[in-house]
């Protein structure tokens, strides 16, 4: 699959799922990475964005208006369907179980965060092994560094926003300090990388 407006070309890579995380400045960064996704997009994606716990999240509504794909707030045991984008609900950790279903948890926050990017990414590494891609963007704490490392160790693909471009570079820098990501790129190129991923034939 070739995406329109591609600036760069990345090696072909098949994945069953993509997981993305960001914190401060994350809504805009995520919007930039997901911009221009085609209507026939096949790979399921799950996102953790840090938001205040006490507020109902409107992320799913916001991104449903912007994107031509189906967008949901993940519920417990909801199946992860092809081509859909899921957001972790505020106040819960989000994991992906074997069998491609979500599970939620109210365990204590990890690095002051619930949902935690580390939790989502580590579960994705267990569930998909090498067939998952993790994207980590702007943020003011170190959540995601451990999770991305777990994806890397399982053989998955890791991509981090170029810290010089990130609104808050703490999160990308922490990830780069833990392992050498497959890609360190500005948002524009993360978008290209995402769109060049190909769905693994899981069904």
């Amino acid at each position: 699959m070739k995406a329109a407006g591609t600036h760069r070309s990345f090696p072909a890579r098949r994945v069953e799922a993509v997981v993305l995380g960001a914190s401060a400045g994350g809504i805009d960064a995520l919007g930039a990475v997901l911009e221009g996704l085609p209507a026939g997009w096949r790979i399921p994606m799950a996102v953790v964005l840090h938001l205040p716990e006490s507020h109902e999240s409107h992320l799913a509504e916001i991104f449903a208006q912007r994107l031509p794909i189906s967008v949901h707030e993940a519920l417990d045991k909801m199946p992860m369907a092809d081509g859909c984008l899921y957001f972790a609900p505020p106040g819960y950790h989000l994991s992906i179980e074997r069998g491609r279903r979500f599970s939620l948890s109210c365990e204590a926050p990890v690095l002051y965060s619930r949902p935690s990017i580390d939790v989502l990414m580590a579960s994705a590494a267990d569930a998909f092994g090498p067939s998952v891609a993790g994207f980590l963007m702007t943020g003011a704490n170190e959540d995601g560094a451990e999770g991305l490392l777990r994806i890397h160790r399982a053989g998955g693909l890791t991509a981090v926003q170029d810290p010089t471009e990130a609104l808050v570079p703490t999160m990308p820098l922490a990830a780069i300090a833990r392992h050498t990501p497959d890609h360190v790129l500005p948002l524009r190129d993360l978008r290209t990388l995402l769109q060049q991923l190909e769905p693994a034939h899981a069904h």
Binding site: E97, V119, D126
Partner: protein, 277 residues
């Protein structure tokens, strides 16, 4: 279907540990969700200073005291009063009026943990004039949590958040009417739970013990896989009287279970369901 990701050594150890615990102590964690169970066991290893899950299994088999400690890691005693105020508001507005039509009411708080939800419901029922003729059963598998629940003492630092929740849940009094503060703790009015039956009960291994009109089981089923969720939902369905109510956590749904068509929706976003046939 592509071949499933092979079980990691950690996952194999985890399954063996849960099997050992079940065979030895009859606590059945075998059908809990893997991701969060793995996190909790790995955290327990750090705290107990043990090198591996296999080492933990070896120790736990021979040391019941250690199992008691491990149990505190395997269960998730995280709760708050009037969590998700909209749920309690919906109970007040849409369930209590129907409960009022019964001469006596039985309520089951399943997986009550340290009791925050029990006291919240007791306050709500008292304000609605129902507590006097309501029998509450509060059950959990963790004896330490049940003991805390019986005491009704919660950290004072949490009270500000609980007060805000209580107000948003349609509370009719000042929240401070219900507790006395001393030594960094808030002790709740013991008369609220004087008639509550706190009991050891497992949704994984025990059966139904009473006919109830309302089951409140919030953020408990999220730790179960679908097989165990269906077992628990089966118990609730069996326990509930005709058209009885089931309340779940705000991000739980009956739609992905085998009981989707055995309940209908009473308050959709507040996750209150009603038994059908």
């Amino acid at each position: 279907m592509a071949p499933a990701q092979p079980l990691s050594d950690t996952e194999i150890e985890l399954r063996l540990l849960m099997e050992a615990i079940y065979l030895k102590y009859s606590y059945d964690f075998r059908n809990y969700t893997t991701a969060s169970q793995k996190r909790r066991v790995l955290y327990a290893l750090e705290q107990l200073e043990l090198p591996s899950i296999s080492a933990l299994q070896d120790r736990v088999l021979r040391d019941a005291t250690l199992f008691g400690r491990l149990l505190q890691f395997l269960t998730i005693p995280v709760s708050e009063m009037f969590r998700d105020p909209a749920y309690f508001l919906a109970l007040r507005r849409h369930v209590v009026p129907i409960l009022h039509t019964y001469p006596s009411v039985k309520v089951w708080v399943a997986g009550c943990s340290t009791g925050e939800e029990v006291f919240s419901l007791a306050i709500l029922l008292r304000e609605e004039g129902l507590l006097e003729r309501t029998q509450i059963y509060a059950t959990d598998i963790n004896p330490a949590s049940l003991e805390k629940a019986r005491q009704g003492i919660f950290p004072l630092e949490a009270i500000r958040g609980y007060t805000s929740n209580y107000q948003r849940a349609g509370g009719l009094s000042a929240f401070s009417d219900y507790y006395t503060a001393a030594y960094e703790a808030a002790r709740f009015d013991p008369s609220l739970c004087a008639d509550v039956i706190f009991a050891d009960h497992s949704l994984a291994t025990d059966s139904v013990f009473a006919e109830t009109q309302l089951v409140s089981c919030r953020n408990v089923l999220i730790y179960f896989n679908r097989q165990l969720q269906d077992r628990a939902l089966g118990l609730f369905h069996e326990s509930l009287s005709h058209r009885g109510f089931l309340g779940l956590g705000s991000k739980e749904s009956i739609d992905f279970s085998g009981y989707a068509d055995r309940f209908d929706t009473h308050a959709r976003s507040e996750r209150i369901y009603r038994k059908v046939a």
